[in-house]
């Protein structure tokens, strides 16, 4: 194979090094012209490229224009109630009125109610001003052909409710007068030869005329922002760490972490929400949003405890749940209790067989994630990491056995905020230019415990397969 490569190099090298082809006959005359200061008549690549582009654009705009003409659903910007008039009358009136209007230097042109009223044949006491940033004196305005580009960029503020397209809309002071976009537009032009030398300036300033509210749309970034909706069931569990400061809260029990591991299990955990992504550059993206996550835990070995005849409470690895339910209290009076002699305090313990305690914790999370983009084509792949503070919004506990299902209230000493660390892989597949499907295997580990007191501090962790769709702006 290497020999083949050398052969191919040699073949081309040998042949081409001795190859000679006569230069084009007119090459010298072109050089001569350029050396003499005459322009070199280059191949008109640019011309043809521009011409091709122009043809495509014209074809596209023509299609758009005719589609708009045929549509009965043209949208116009309206904030005030207007009257419906016939299209030809409106067009004629507007043309007549606007053509007579002159723009004076550095002045806002007051388009009086008369102009508007004549156009729409309605009475109104309001004066609407057409705000024009123009320093060219005495420029006559005239109607030109519908400006499709302006039409495309025009930003509808609200839908015009009427079914007809023959509407005119008014914006308050410093807002433009909006005319029916599919057949009338306002343009500045110089009508006399003496103003020709200013035509360039006028052209440049034309863009400042706020006839259409297109400033906003012109600034829209391309594909930098995206919004995403995701959902995932969570494989959740927790790590129990012995609470070194539990002396201030003597539980009076010798429950080991192993005991809780055996009797407690996580159920029905899920998370979902919306996030916004901003692409910083080709490689990095930042993400934030709002997610709801829910984590439920079941304890199937239910004991009630009472220290020194204090009120009874259920104990879980996460914390204690005060028993305020009269039903359970009544039941406790009949239950045989034992005293745990291994503890410093007298502890009464009552066992509830065939029962379970369900704890539910709900969080609103605001993740702050940085993504590193490995590749971003039709199929995209990223790695990401960050933190996801979770704000406790729900804390509830339930007692359940074959006869009863009782809301116990809440688990004590649950922290109002936890800080999850997040790492994961981002996989996405572009369904279209704007939309892509994403699948993010994610691992979250809480850096802070969910509870502040108790024998153990609980650090939950989750595996999730977040699935959803991204919309790119």
């Amino acid at each position: 194979m290497p020999e083949d490569k050398k052969n191919i190099d040699k073949l081309f090298s040998d042949y081409l090094s001795r190859y000679k082809e006569k230069a084009p006959s007119d090459a010298w005359s072109k050089l001569d012209n350029e050396l003499s200061g005459k322009p070199f008549p280059r191949k008109n690549y640019l011309f043809w490229a521009a011409a091709s582009a122009a043809i495509i654009i014209i074809a596209f705009l023509s299609g758009y224009y005719f589609a708009s003409m045929n549509s009965n659903n043209s949208e116009f910007i309206a904030q005030k109630e207007t009257k419906e008039i016939s299209k030809p009358i409106l067009e004629e009136n507007i043309k007549k009125e606007i053509a007579q209007t002159r723009i004076t230097e550095d002045k806002e042109l007051e388009v009086t109610e008369e102009i508007i009223n004549n156009s729409v044949k309605k009475t109104s006491s309001k004066t609407t001003s057409l705000f024009i940033e123009n320093k060219t004196p005495s420029i006559e305005r005239k109607i030109i052909e519908p400006n499709i580009l302006s039409l495309k960029k025009a930003k509808p503020i609200s839908d015009f409710s009427s079914k007809s397209t023959n509407k005119i809309a008014f914006i308050k002071t410093k807002q433009p007068v909006f005319l029916p976009i599919d057949f009338v537009n306002i343009n500045l032009a110089l009508n006399s030869d003496k103003n020709i030398n200013k035509s360039d300036k006028v052209k440049k300033r034309k863009s400042k005329i706020k006839v259409w509210d297109d400033d906003v749309l012109q600034k829209s970034p391309s594909n930098k922002w995206s919004i995403r909706g995701q959902f995932s069931p969570l494989l959740a569990y927790r790590e129990l760490k012995k609470n070194s400061s539990s002396n201030d809260y003597v539980t009076g029990t010798n429950m080991s972490s192993q005991h809780y591991e055996n009797v407690e299990s996580q159920i029905a955990s899920f998370s979902g929400g919306l996030d916004v992504n901003y692409k910083l550059n080709k490689r990095f993206e930042v993400q934030s949003g709002i997610y709801y996550s829910q984590n439920e835990q079941i304890n199937t070995d239910v004991y009630a405890f009472s220290n020194n005849n204090d009120p009874w409470e259920f104990r879980t690895s996460n914390g204690n749940i005060k028993i305020t339910s009269e039903t359970i209290r009544k039941e406790l009076t009949y239950k045989p209790t034992v005293k745990d002699s291994t503890t410093v305090f007298d502890v009464n313990i009552a066992n509830f067989t065939n029962s379970e305690i369900k704890q539910k914790f709900e969080y609103i999370e605001v993740p702050l994630i940085v993504k590193y983009i490995i590749f971003d084509k039709k199929f995209g792949f990223q790695i990401f990491g960050g933190i996801s503070p979770g704000f406790l919004v729900g804390n509830s506990a339930y007692f359940k056995n074959e006869n009863t299902d009782i809301n116990l209230g809440e688990t004590d000493n649950i922290n109002s905020v936890i800080y999850n660390s997040v790492i994961g892989l981002g996989l996405n597949y572009s369904l279209s230019k704007k939309i892509c499907f994403n699948f993010d295997p994610t691992f979250k580990y809480s850096l802070s415990p969910i509870n502040s007191r108790g024998d153990f501090k609980t650090y939950p962790y989750y595996f999730g397969f977040f699935t959803g769709f991204t919309y790119k702006f």
Partner: protein, 184 residues
């Protein structure tokens, strides 16, 4: 043409004499146009490169230090012009499918199955990024390090482009031989 005559032409070009410029053009334009051909995708582009190259030569001939032959110096300028053009445009033409354009090779020019003109055509069919690296490495003898600097790409890219270019050319040549053998 001896060195004295060439030196006379150089001095005339430095003085901006049109006759000297024409002499220089007549002397080397064919050789340089051939170089332009295998650094471009077609004759039109080659002509543009030749034109730009000669303009640079006329403008900078006073800087010629006689370290190499005048032709080598001019060839380097022409190649740099082609590279500059490539860097500016950096258009990526699709890799030509082997089934395409093979029939375009003029059969009457085939001498011993392949002529230089055919080889140029095969090179011109390459994607610019492959063409540039192949020409610089296989024909001009630049190292990957030099190519990477000149084209502002990594050495690895230079190597992989060369490898790809070789692969494509090998297939094209084989295909061409096969086609011609069948015809024969």
């Amino acid at each position: 043409m001896n060195n004295i005559q060439i030196e006379k032409i150089i001095q005339g070009c430095i003085s901006g004499k049109r006759k000297a410029q024409k002499n220089l053009y007549d002397l080397y334009s064919d050789d340089l146009f051939s170089v332009c051909l295998y650094y471009s995708k077609n004759r039109d582009e080659a002509e543009d490169i030749l034109h730009e190259g000669f303009m640079k030569v006329f403008k900078n001939i006073s800087t010629f230090k006689h370290k190499s032959s005048l032709f080598s110096w001019m060839k380097k300028i022409v190649i740099n012009t082609a590279l500059e053009r490539y860097r500016k445009q950096y258009y990526l033409t699709p890799i030509t499918d082997l089934s395409e354009n093979i029939e375009d090779i003029e059969r009457e020019n085939v001498i011993n199955h392949l002529s230089s003109k055919d080889l140029i055509k095969l090179i011109q069919e390459l994607s610019p990024k492959y063409r540039m690296v192949f020409n610089m490495y296989a024909i001009e003898g630049y190292s990957h390090k030099e190519i990477s600097k000149m084209l502002k790409i990594s050495e690895g890219t230079s190597k992989s482009n060369l490898s790809r270019a070789r692969g494509i050319l090998q297939q094209k040549v084989r295909k061409y031989f096969y086609t011609e053998a069948k015809k024969a």
